[in-house]
Amino acid sequence: MRALPDWLAPLGAIAGATILAGFFLLLLGADPAAALRALARGAFGDAVALENTLIRTGPLVLVGLGMALAFRCGVWNIGGEGQLYAGALAATAAAVGTGFALPASVALPLILLSGLAAGAAWGAVAGVLKVSRGVSEVLSTLMLNFIAILAVAWAVGGPLQETAATYPQSGAFPAAARLPLMPGTHRLHAGLACALLLPPLLWLFLFRSAAGLRLRAVGLAPRVARYAGISPGRETLRVLVLSGSLAGLAGAIEVAGVTGRLFQNLSPGYGFTAIAVALLARLHPLGVLPAALFFAALASGSGAMQRSAGVPSVTVQVIEAGVILLSAGFALAKRES
């Protein structure tokens, strides 16, 4: 059996996963067609729905790009969720620590850079453990996820809690610490520009720069790369820092652009969905944008599906898992070791 052409395989995976999820719903006695219609309406039906979908696309693009780069380098960074939380935590700490008093021209760069740096640091922990102690990055990033999420839960009930101390959440960011909205929209913030600019930039990095070549070389054939004078350890550390900083930036943009404050469950699993995004994009930076849009639509449509078709919103995770399995099982299988 010949493998599907490159551009068709992701569509096949989506179709296959949707059909599987449909059967799953039938099995449970729900109406798949009605569920799908409600899902599409909830994702693209009107301006509000569309804005909601685009807002969710942003973090998925950023974290998904980080995953795609790491996977290209043969590094299994499963820690996007933790790196995102670390970024959101540091960004909020920077905003609260300066007393919400800085002008926007200082506050916003500070917030975004803090998030980026914290995400990079969180990735670096896994990188250092891997390179110096041989600890599998799969396990360390999984553990670091829990630690970052719990650190946020602790912070919003402790040092970063709002002054009223009513809820476990940080104080609301003032206007100067919020990303500006795009004119004529309700929720589309300037941070989404990153989601448009970064895929082509990282494409250039990955396929048109020496550093990108080194990264890919380590992923394709670490032993050969070593003969070529490339240190797999250094590339591993680098790519974890890079993908961590992208996720950290996503976390900072989320608090400064979307929610305006930090709280538990800030992310509806963006870090995990990003793995599906990267795989559906076939680890290609330009493919990450449409793949992220697809998963964002699933997530934002799932609420409508639950309300009007009575299908639990978590069902979209079944579709997500199906897409990962089908794109890994039938598309990447030829990428032998």
């Binding site: 799953f24 449970l28 006695g29 729900a30 299994w76 499963i78 453990l129 102690r133 041989g134 600890v135 599998s136 799969v138 396990l139 360390s140 999984l142 553990m143 670091l144 829990f146 630690i147 719990l150 650190a151 839960a153 602790w154 009930g157 402790g158 995990f272 793995i275 599906a276 795989l279 299908v311 639990p312 978590v314 069902t315 979209v316 995770q317 079944v318 579709i319 997500e320 898992a321 199906g322 990962i324 399995l325 890994a328 099982g329 039938f330 990447l332 299988a333 032998e336 070791s337």
Partner: protein, 293 residues
């Protein structure tokens, strides 16, 4: 003995046993060369199936069997992709974890709407005071696995499939079949571990209730350096740390709850960093095998 100490030890056993069961199953899979990071999902599926079968029927035994079967079924799905199709095991495991979260969440809300099904599941009873079947099961499993791997021909074949798949194949070991079997066994163990959460530790199902126990079990296999006895000892250590954390909280020690909850994850990282070295891992772990005909 001091009743407080007894309570601490009992809760150590309760917290350690599910970890030990899942980690022992994963040990067998990894010794055969299969890295299954989907055991978190298999535990969750086991917990859900145990609740879905035990609560309406009132039979804890049925719950145990259903839990093992659910873990086995998910493991078969994993094997289909990771062994048969030679897809990346990390990707497949991650997908299965997401799948289990979505599928159990959906099924829980659709099949078991509140009110129609009892809120609580029946509990597996103690054999003797202090002797719980799940603890006994974990001990027997550890003994059986250690004996099987060390002293039997099939155990040797399984280890060969994990260490040198190519060479094992040349010796006539059916590598793919062995890896399938080991994966299914590991899935069933994870399912049992999940069932123990519902039928022993908390009497109900909560979405995502495994909360990373499967990942800690994965770490325990490394912690125990691929030996059944050391893995059980590791599970007890983790169980003790968690039990102590709950105790400290009950005493009202001023340590924030969320920071205490971090202990097992930080401990895992520290232990992995100190132990380090992958010298004891099977050489062909996580390497797909394609028999040349």
């Amino acid at each position: 003995m001091d009743p407080l100490l007894v309570a601490l030890l009992l809760s150590t056993l309760r917290l350690a046993t599910p970890l030990g069961l899942a980690a022992l199953g994963e040990l067998v899979a990894e010794r055969a060369g299969v890295l299954n990071i989907g055991i978190e999902g298999m535990m969750l599926a086991g917990a859900f199936a145990a609740f879905a079968c035990a609560a309406p029927s009132g039979s804890a035994l049925l719950g145990v069997l259903a839990g093992a079967a659910a873990g086995l079924a998910l493991a078969a799905l994993f094997a289909l992709f990771a062994i048969q199709r030679r897809a990346d095991p990390i990707v497949c495991g991650t997908a299965l974890n997401i799948f289990a979260l979505g599928a159990t969440g959906t099924a829980y809300r659709v099949l078991l709407p509140p009110g129609l099904v009892p809120e609580t599941a029946p509990q597996v009873a103690e054999l003797l005071p202090g002797v719980h079947p799940f603890v006994l099961l974990a001990l027997l499993l550890a003994l059986a696995i250690a004996g099987f791997l060390r002293g039997t021909r099939p155990g040797l074949a399984l280890r060969a499939a994990g260490e040198r798949a190519e060479a094992a194949h040349a010796q006539g070991v059916p590598v793919l079949a062995v890896r399938w079997g080991a994966t299914l066994f590991g899935g069933a163990c994870a399912g049992l571990a999940g069932a123990s959460l519902v039928l022993w530790i908390s009497d109900s199902f909560v979405e995502g209730m495994t909360s990373g126990r499967g990942f800690i079990a994965l770490a325990l296999v490394l912690f125990g350096r691929f030996r059944a006895g050391r893995i059980l000892a590791g599970a007890l250590l983790f169980g003790f740390a968690s039990a102590l954390q709950f105790r400290l909280q009950a005493i009202g020690l001023e340590i924030p709850y969320n920071l205490l909850l971090m202990t097992p994850y930080v401990l895992t990282l520290v232990v992995l960093a100190v132990w380090s070295g992958r010298g004891t891992a099977p050489a062909d772990l996580a390497r797909p095998f394609a028999p040349r005909s």
